[in-house]
Assembly symmetry: D2
């Protein structure tokens, strides 16, 4: 484990609990936690039960007792660590976004594929049971030809100009460490879900905005220009002919993590909201095969409380009606990854799949500057 | 029209608009409005377009140009007016509750039935399209054997002890004029709907409460004991074996007209809330005939937006998605009444049907005093 | 009244009921209904109580007993009728959108302003009490500096390729009669509300789509190319620096009239949904003046049930908790118009204000073709 | 740990994770799991990491290396185990309900109090952050004089008459093992929350029902009469003068774990629903002290998304907007228990507090048989 921030905690929790809930052949052993600040990483390791700590990730990466490297550092170090880990023959799981930009991402993909190493990017929201169920309903043919996909990721925590940028916990506001603002941090999640559910995005037109132009840097104490996008809105075309609409911001007063999506198709529609993640809303027009029809006077949006044993992942947890939380999406993702290693069917998104999301993000940022429609260059076969 | 209060307005609106929306053989003509206060009734008549006014209801009732008497006065005068109107051979539509008590109600039923006059009590909520749709879904067999029925009618407008009792607009707080408090005013609506949807109520046990023991009388200005029930809760048994739970109060801070019901059956469930009356919530377990089954992973509560042409009454109004309001329930009820007169199939609830609701109310009030289960004595055949 | 379609009914209902609910100096008299089809217009006039009918609108416009002309015809005839009515010195109220295009609109504005005639365009949704309340809360300073405005208008009634275009009731699908598709029909409403609440829109980038490329024409019976936009998505900049996101479609399965908006500001946020129009959702961060603060542990979105006497227009109707419907927005708009005539403070939007919405629509359609950001040319002072 | 069923899992998860999330002086060590079925308890212990297993709880209770006994067995064995554990001087945490009946409960209270041992009953729902927040808002004076408390616990999993009774996983349907049906299993939770939030319940009148009269016994395979209550409804009086209404059933089609409550007071109201446990709904009339008033035109129910650091327990988990789940209520309860042991302020409900809930349950069951109001005999001082 490299990094000990918010994601370090979320991943550590997943590692520790994996075998309590999922019947897998392998047992997770927390070998080592690594970070530059020795005091903090020791406290982190003690809390979560890592056997030892390191302050140099290069050393960790070469450790013979380590099979898997988890990259939870700021985005600007993903590539370097991943390349070293690949060279050392370790399995790699990397926080999203894959990299600072497409070029870095391509280098990373090349490295892990050449080394033939299991690899995954933590787009954990795919494993929220409600979103996994959405994927299943689409696969069952219940939505039919898609027309519209729209998704938001709205937060409000940076409205105050007094929030500093940079440093521990705030590197997401520092364009050097993060690469972009809400686009890489929040929209990347939405784009990953969107392409998983609705296929490749081929063209985009975007508008980005930085509402607060200068912020104090948390480390230097100096006022510095803000380089990230505070907000990003884009319209896009999917390869299947449907239209997409995306918005993300950290200036939507009243929303803390309002990650939503809605898909409208000829046969039905789906809607999701992370703030009440136990639900999937489903409008059924015709039942799956197009043969039977829902009687017109009883049509309506159905709130599916995704907590039954027959719902994705839910047979691993409690009983119908009882909700699980945000953290379980990591647990589910990890279980899929380990199972993929065990049965030879790699869990997705691997680096190559995550690279396609990076391409869309890059096209969005570019369009924000050019004001024109930009092609994404997504590799259709890699959208899995 | 006798009375010019809140219900006088609601009914007048229905009369004036009936022929705009419903294709009936008869045209409504607003002949006369009647009330003791000449100035006020003249203003009322001018506003709504009544041809003339009266200050003596006895005179109105005998008017040869009047075919129908609408009783919108406080409850303590319903019987006297109804008996006179019946004697005069007029059709009668009467505000709910039917009377002050069962004894009065029985006298009224006898009178109108002897005279063979069309008669109806304004339990208008039956004609909210969502509730009418609930009735239809039950009739289609979509609910199956019922287990539970629960209903609330929660308000908060009398919490302040400074609200006076009695006088215009406040006679509902005066036990002499109203007969009871929330039981006759609010629960009567719920009981009417409950028996319409789920059949006769046979036994009840209740708890009534008067939170504010004294209020100033609006007319006399004197502090007087409060005789009505501010709140009433009861448990009941339906003839079909299901259990009922009812609550009404004017002390539920935050609720203005939260009239709700929910019915749980073996095959499905239904729920309604007057404050968002455009919806009916429906949980479908097995589809109607018990043959096909809703796939278990997509089961959920469905919000039916009851605004389509195929929904009850909605083909008379606008287009799908556009809501109608509270007032339309009166319009729908009136249309049914007139159509019943035209085609000889009387609209319900007539006086006899409304008398059964009165019986349940009376048993509830009695149980509130005795603390015991009380039989309602409902005439099963009259629950229609 | 020229035209007898859906809007003809909605307006007629407003005229007939106006004086029942609003204390105005003038009484509405329904003089004449006009349409080419004599049989249909006679039936329409009989239903709503118009004194006479006409089949030639030119004749109607010259009638000396008519003070006000209401234009409810398809969009391609708005200008011609309005110019004639202005010439005849009549007050004019015109269905939205104002015209087929900006050029027509400018001609109309010039005509009514030259003639100094009261004029209004029926952007009725401003008068939904919840939306009027939103305006009030903004004016009270409860939202603060705005960051984001997003609005949808989603329907699903044209998904089937079997729906024909053109003819009575379907002229909205015929580009010659309508000018555009969802942009003029649905987005015009959202743009009007958006600029009323959040000020001028200055630049847009849009994507329009026609999913069904050919439809049978209802009159000719021939398959013809579809010229309208089935869907339209656009991003925009407001003059106040906030960003807008708009989407409208008739291919959003499960939505019948999902007209929504949300405004996020520094001090608070607002959200509305026409399908449950009795609510306005409000997130309060700081109370109005910025002095007192809502305690952080009780912050949340508040559902305001907009049915109290202190809410806009609601003192004209029933009692708290009881909802009014779609049709009342026309009644409220008409009351404002008449009051404006009486007190010399014209109700908005007048033709000039509605022209600004037309400009945004035209820029949107243009951007849909060019794929570029387009300026709207909105006259800031006319956005009222 | 004695027992390995659903609660055995939930508690084990809490023990294992406690120190990851809560900074306590003590570390939990999972010493031993105990159950009669050796094979199953070994699998259970292996899964959760217990050091060893036992098949005789008497042996476990005497183990010198064990400090705390967790009783997760069916209700009919709670007393015997608790008495032995108390005799052995162990801390005891016991699943709810405390015992089969009040008499057993009193014996248990006497034993643990005589031995001066830390003890707690797992009424875990008190520790759902939203419910803890409700407690806090009441303590802050935001609700004022209470008028009404209503609570449901609705499920639908025993509607089919083919569900057997008895045996592993189904002992809750066997009156010998469970003591009662929904009253002890579900209503006990609601009663505990109700008295925690709103004080002692002094009188009740109830109706219980067994819809399916016979079920096959899972172990014997024979049809046997069903002794439990499938449904239970009761009305009650609180010591503070407010009225309560409770309902629980396993026959409410469409509800899996619909545990709700609503409290209406003079100054405000609160509502909660376990199926969306991340929310607490709050209606604010006057702000806390009664001085400032919420402006009447912006009053409404506020949905508090209880996921901020300032909300109870939430600073231990993730970031604002991200939900935790059902299982965390056990984690929070355990943290409170351990902290109570450490700081000498025992966590509640201890056995004596839980005994008061048992008294209400017993009065409810009794009233279900007598049809009369029954006193609960709750010890007011022990309701904490």
């Amino acid at each position: 484990m490299i990094g000990y921030g918010f994601m370090g905690r979320a991943h550590s929790n997943a590692y520790k609990r994996l075998n309590d809930f999922f019947p897998l052949q392998h047992k997770v052993v927390l070998k080592a936690a690594c970070a530059r600040n020795e005091e903090k990483v020791k406290a982190f390791a003690a809390n979560w039960g890592y056997e030892r700590t390191e302050t140099d990730w290069r050393k960790l990466v070469r450790s013979p007792d380590v099979d898997l490297i988890d990259i939870c550092t700021p985005n600007d170090s993903h590539m370097e660590i991943a390349l070293a880990a690949a060279k050392a023959g370790k399995m790699i799981v990397c926080e999203k976004p894959l990299a600072l930009d497409v070029k870095q991402g391509e280098t990373m993909v090349k490295a892990v594929e050449k080394a033939k190493l299991p690899n995954m990017v933590w787009f954990n929201y795919r494993r929220v049971p409600s979103i996994s169920l959405a994927k299943q309903l689409i696969a069952e043919g219940r939505i039919g030809r898609p027309y519209h996909f729209r998704a938001n990721f709205l937060q409000d925590w940076t409205i105050s100009p007094d929030v500093p940028q940079g440093g521990a916990g705030l590197w997401r506001l520092d364009v050097k460490a993060a690469g972009s603002g809400v686009t890489g941090d929040l929209l990347a999640h939405n784009i990953d879900c969107a392409m998983w559910l609705n296929g490749p995005i081929v063209r985009v037109t975007a508008r980005t905005e930085t509402f607060v132009k200068q912020r104090k840097h948390a480390v230097t104490g100096k006022m510095q220009p803000v380089g990230i996008d505070d907000a990003c809105l884009f319209i896009c075309e999917f390869a299947n002919g449907s239209l997409g609409l995306f918005e993300s911001t950290r200036y939507a007063r009243g929303h803390k993590a309002l990650k939503t999506f809605e898909l409208n198709g000829e046969q039905g529609s789906l809607a999701f909201n992370l703030e009440e993640m136990e639900y999937l809303d489903f409008f059924e027009y015709n039942t799956g095969g197009g043969e039977a029809t829902v009687d017109s006077h009883i049509r309506g949006w159905r709130r599916i409380h995704v907590t039954n044993g027959e719902h994705p992942y839910m047979n691993r947890y409690w009983v119908p009606g009882l909700v699980i939380g945000y953290e379980h999406s990591f647990l589910n993702a990890l279980a899929d990854f380990v199972q993929g290693v065990e049965n030879g069917k790699p869990a997705q998104p691997d680096f190559r799949s995550a690279l396609q999301t990076q391409k869309v993000c890059e096209a969005v940022i570019k369009s924000g500057k050019t004001g024109r429609w930009e092609k994404t260059g997504v590799d259709v076969k890699a959208v899995i």
